[in-house]
């Protein structure tokens, strides 16, 4: 017998209300701003898609977007392989397992703005430990407040320091779930370490790696606090990533219309790339 009624909607209502209150309404407000112009006093003028066009055509947005993609690309290409290598070299059993896990988790437990501040102090040329060491001991000219390249190296290293652990922990979880029999069979089959990695470890880590890549993509693409605290987007605009630029437009210049349009474009890009990643990485399983 099939029972059909509309009661379920009743149970969903509270959640619907919550989601509307904290997600739908704010997003619609942004949509609202993105198609109008205002000079305050709640007076709005219809702008259509002008802001979107203006943002997409602006060199400033394109440059920030380019920097954003470069940043995300670099940290992914470093953190994913590095995370896998560290996970592979971690002990599988014994007393060192919890020690390794806790040490790995530590960077992720530190609040983002603290990470930014730590690295700022750490790398400042005269007073920072690293800055002093590089400049005055090793004699390498390094000043992330003046040199764009140094600033880039610093934010990349900071992100790698902060987030590689996530990839490590996820990969490690994938690795320890592989039964011993697989390794034993591979030994008997005469497989080389590379083949063990290629045909056993990597396939078994695939699901968690998909998650790791997605999380790292989304987080790094939306990153704000750490580079903002570390470099403030400088020197010049060299480390002004999308979110930093967005905040400058929205809260610095109070251009709410363009900022709203930019937010929506930003959101759409994040969503699109995440979807692409996910579809590509899970394509094989669907066959």
């Amino acid at each position: 017998m099939k029972t059909e009624n509309q009661k379920a909607w009743f149970f969903v209502l509270p959640v619907l209300f919550l989601v509307a209150f904290n997600a739908l309404v704010p997003i619609m407000t942004v949509v609202n701003y993105s198609v109008q112009e205002t000079f305050g006093n709640n007076v709005f003028f219809w702008q259509g898609l002008d802001w979107f066009e203006q943002i997409l055509r602006s060199d400033r947005f394109q440059a920030a977007l380019g920097r954003q993609f470069l940043f995300t690309f670099l940290i992914l290409i470093i953190e994913i392989p590095l995370g896998i290598i560290i996970a592979l070299s971690m002990p599988k059993k014994g007393m060192w397992v919890p020690v390794c896990l806790v040490l790995m988790a530590l960077p992720m437990l530190i609040p983002w703005n603290v990470v930014g501040a730590m690295w700022n102090i750490f790398t400042l040329p005269k007073i920072g430990l690293l800055g002093y060491f590089l400049n005055d001991v090793l004699g390498i000219a390094y000043d992330m407040t003046q040199n764009p390249f140094a600033a880039w190296v610093t934010i990349i290293v900071m992100d790698v320091w902060h987030w590689t652990s996530l990839v490590v922990l996820l990969s490690y979880a994938g690795l320890v779930s592989i039964p011993d029999a697989y390794y034993q069979a591979a030994k008997i089959d005469g497989a080389s370490p590379w083949k063990v990695f290629r045909y056993i470890q990597l396939p078994k880590m695939k699901t968690v790696l998909t998650i790791a890549i997605l999380l790292r993509f989304m987080d790094s693409f939306n990153i704000y606090t750490e580079p903002f605290v570390l470099t403030g987007g400088g020197p010049g605009n060299s480390t002004t990533l999308l979110s930093i630029d967005l905040v400058k437009i929205a809260l610095g210049q109070f251009d709410l219309g363009p900022a709203a349009a930019m937010s929506l474009i930003y959101f759409a890009i994040t969503l699109l790339v995440s979807w692409l990643f996910y579809t590509l990485m899970t394509k094989d399983d669907a066959q």
Partner: protein, 357 residues
Amino acid sequence: MAKITLSNLRHSYLPSPSGPADYALKEIDLDWQDGGAYALLGPSGCGKSTLLNIISGLLTPSEGRILFDDRDVTDLPPDQRNIAQVFQFPVIYDTMTVRDNLAFPLRNRGVDEGRIAERVAEIAQMLEVEEMLDIRASHLSPDNKQKISMGRGLVRDDVNVVMFDEPLTVIDPHLKWKLRSKLKELHQRVRATMIYVTHDQTEALTFADQVVVMQDGEIVQIGTPVELFERPQHTFVGHFIGSPGMNVLPAEESDGAVRFQGRQVALEGAVTGQGGITQIGVRPEFVSLTDAGLPARVNKVSDVGRHAVVEAMVGDTAVKAIVEGELPEQGAEIHLAFRPDHTRLYRDGWLSTEAQT
């Protein structure tokens, strides 16, 4: 192909074992003849997987040597011993096709592609998996996956021994039987030494020519299925093999006679040794209901199909008998008789009567 000799093998998982209790394997001396079908039978935790891993080289024994055809292989890694092992859970390389899975051990050894194609086709035909060769191995059902992992072992024509570590655990019951007879058939075709580890007596007895029964890290008996059934060397074998297992009854020994519940019991032959804890062992198949004999009261009658198992109390001890034909009522007073040529004395668990000549 090779004869495998285990000599004075002992293994402990502890770094510095102090007593016999610390050893997972206690003193194993054993020869596996070339081309034999062996089963290693014993309850979980008796050390049979440890023994298997020592033969395959996944574990190095604490003491003792392993010889393949008189060549010492104790310190050789698994890939240099030319052995194959099939695990409890099917191990397949998910991302490869079935064909590549079967070819994998050969490719790793640098066999040329023409020869590989030949061998893979041969094995696929033998295992009846030809139509699956080009699909991804991850899409196979568990029994087919297990077939492929067997195939990876058989594909090499230089294997000394193929070992099976409870390979049917995850297979559906109706396919178990099929796979088991496939194994038997494979053994007859390839004539490689095969060692089959299991805790299931049916699997062991149907597969093997020789069954090695283990308990607590020791081999208690090696024999054909018939020998294990007819003349268990140890009460454990008697109890572990058979359904229901052998009756093991407390016995008193005095003046050269053996008594059970105060009544003298006739045994197969003369009693050897002395002292220790003595028990009488007699299989339910050799206990019959008679008009005169041990008085007993029927406790339980279970009909298991072809025959019935009658459990009767002799004093405070339960004795099981397999009965065909007319069955007694529960609570009925009956008399039991043991067939003397299958009634034996065990001293501290070990057989302690001379065989009939």
